[in-house]
């Protein structure tokens, strides 16, 4: 299957946006997952619901909310531009932010399961051996939750390759800047004679998604084996 330069561009952009989105959401997602798994605080249920919002709210609404917050006139967007000269709307960075918000719950859910699977007796044992809170987190908790976290990250990456609604609303559909695979497919369908291009890109998206999911499963299995679980 040979791809045209525009198709290559869309593929590269998709990979770029998905990578940046995971890089952006991974650490906060681990933090939130840990809070949800272990935290005992008043707003826990509210936080849980907030995290899951992008899964249930229409992606267009998420894009609109981002536009309101991070737009040139938005409370955050205006300051970003004034202080750092950073503009997110209509940029690759903006597409990555929209994708990160959409895939955030995927990482949180997987990482939270990872944390919840850990036998807390192991952390107690580490305590009696002299390990303080941070020490315990980095030597026991995090490595044991790693299979869940990594699986979540890979799933988020695969899903991020295909984020459509939030990206097109917040970052628009600019070839070479924000036109990722799904947006390119959408444009191809809209263009007379673009059916063949749409089909090729759709096939590509499908293969990427499948390999992403298989990779996630493989990583999880490998790590579980390493941890002596079956």
């Amino acid at each position: 299957m040979s791809l045209s330069p525009e198709e290559w561009q869309a593929l590269r952009l998709s990979l770029d946006v998905a990578t940046r989105s995971v890089a952006l959401s991974l650490l906060p997602a681990i933090g939130v997952a840990w809070l949800l798994a272990r935290g005992r605080f008043a707003g826990r249920m509210v936080l849980d619901a907030l995290v899951h919002l992008p899964l249930v709210v229409p992606p267009v609404v998420v894009g609109w909310a981002l536009l309101m917050l991070f737009g040139v006139q938005g409370p955050i967007g205006a300051r970003l531009e004034a202080w750092f000269g950073v503009r997110l709307v209509f940029t690759t960075g903006g597409a990555a932010l929209a994708t990160a918000v959409m895939s955030f719950p995927l990482i949180v859910r997987a990482a939270r399961l990872g944390f919840e699977q850990i036998d807390q007796g192991l952390e107690q044992a580490a305590r009696t051996l002299g390990a303080g809170p941070l020490d315990r987190f980095f030597t026991i908790t995090l490595p044991l939750a790693a299979p869940g976290i990594l699986a979540g990250a890979v799933t988020a990456f695969a899903a991020g390759l295909g984020e459509f609604g939030a990206v097109i609303t917040f970052a628009s559909n600019i070839p070479g800047e924000t036109q990722t695979l799904p947006l390119a497919i959408y444009s191809a369908i809209q263009t007379p004679g673009g059916e063949a291009m749409a089909a090729r890109l759709a096939g590509l998206s499908f293969m990427l998604a499948i390999s992403g999911l298989l990779l996630a499963e493989l990583i999880a299995r490998r790590l579980h084996l390493l941890l002596g679980r079956s």
Partner: protein
């Protein structure tokens, strides 16, 4: 020396734990009692994993917990090595890294056996590169013992370390526990509900029931008391410290000396001079008023009947027999006492079958 005094109430319907005792350095103090009597909670409170409602824990003069002063040293700063029922090895780390986990976090100047010494002591050399998942239950527990010992603790807490193992594995780990006791110069608290572990390891005994201390003292002294729940057990009887005096391989017998006399037992594989502790069950001891003839029993020991006491069963009594400074208990029927007209102060003979001695109860 460890001093403990704790009060804790479980939930609303639960019983109240109210325990106070002490444990000297270099000795094993066993917390012995039925399941659910609060033994494990006591260990958790000493280690700092459980916050009791009220209490005080002090180790070698350093206070670890004092609720009246709102003092609660966190577990990671207490330096109490804790061995759990399930080994709780870190599954993502090799056996060697597990062993070094506590060692790396111990203070530089903390005294204790070195890594190589512990590996030899517990026979861990073949497993060092392996992951815990590849070990048997007994091997895992040995690694857990080593890991706790290597954290250079000021106190070793063992929470039923053999309870999750089958009989064969227990027999495999028990000698290592005895070695650990001899290597660790810190107080050891050993929670168990298995009497043979007490016999094999404990110097002192704290008897617990429903969250309260029934009695506390030397294991031998408590075993000789007839007013404790211990006496109601089938295997109730005295613990006697013995020295292996010699073997008669022609007759297939080993002679064990104790203060006031000696026992002949079936030949044992033990070097001369070795210290052994044996449990002599009260139901295995018979009494005669005259030296019997034509009897298979090897052990016929002149003794003085000190006391006739109740057993909790109306038809049976305990006879307290003195052989020199050593006390034996014999459990006999009330009818036998009346038939022989036994009286305290009377000179009698204590009869014990050689095969009645339980090798499992020997001090290893």
């Amino acid at each position: 020396m460890l001093e403990v005094s704790l009060t804790h109430r479980y939930g609303r319907a639960g019983f109240t734990l109210e325990a106070a005792f002490h444990a000297p350095a270099g000795q094993v103090t066993a917390l012995f009692g039925p399941s659910g009597c609060g033994k494990s909670s006591i260990l958790a409170a000493i280690a700092g994993l459980l916050r009791p409602d009220a209490g005080r824990v002090a180790l070698d003069g350093v206070t670890l917990l004092d609720t009246s002063r709102r003092l609660h040293v966190p577990p990671e700063a207490r330096r109490c090595g804790l061995v759990f029922q399930e080994a709780r090895l870190f599954p993502h780390l090799s056996v060697e890294t597990n062993l070094r986990y506590g060692l790396r976090r111990a203070p530089r100047d903390a005294a204790g056996p070195g890594f190589d010494e512990v590996v030899v002591l517990l026979g861990l050399a073949p497993f060092l590169a392996r992951r815990p998942a590849g070990l048997s239950g007994g091997e895992r527990q040995r690694v857990a013992l080593g890991r706790a010992l290597l954290s250079r603790p000021r106190l070793l807490l063992l929470d039923e370390p053999l309870a999750a193992l089958d009989l064969a594995r227990r027999a495999e780990v028990l000698p290592f526990l005895a070695r650990l006791r001899d290597a660790a110069r810190v107080p050891m608290l050993y929670v168990t509900h298995a009497l043979d572990e007490v016999d094999a390891l404990a110097d002192r005994l704290v008897l617990l029931e429903a969250g309260r201390v029934l009695a506390e003292g030397e294991a031998e002294a408590l075993a000789a008391r007839t007013d404790l729940p211990l006496a109601a057990r089938r295997d109730a009887g005295v613990l006697i410290g013995c020295t292996v005096d010699g073997h008669d391989s022609a007759r297939g017998l080993t002679r064990l000396d104790f203060a006031g006399g000696h026992f002949l037992v079936p030949l044992r594989d033990a070097p001369r001079g070795e210290q052994r502790r044996i449990r002599l069950r009260a139901r295995d001891v018979a009494v005669a008023t005259t030296a019997p003839q034509g009897l298979t029993m090897q052990n016929i020991l002149p003794a003085t009947l000190r006391e006739i006491g109740p057993t909790g069963t109306p038809q049976e009594v305990f006879l307290r027999l003195a052989i020199g400074p050593t006390i034996l208990l014999a459990r006999v029927t009330r009818d036998s006492v009346e038939r022989l007209a036994l009286q305290p102060g009377q000179e009698v003979f204590a009869l014990v079958k050689s095969v009645a001695f339980d090798p499992a109860g020997s001090r290893l």
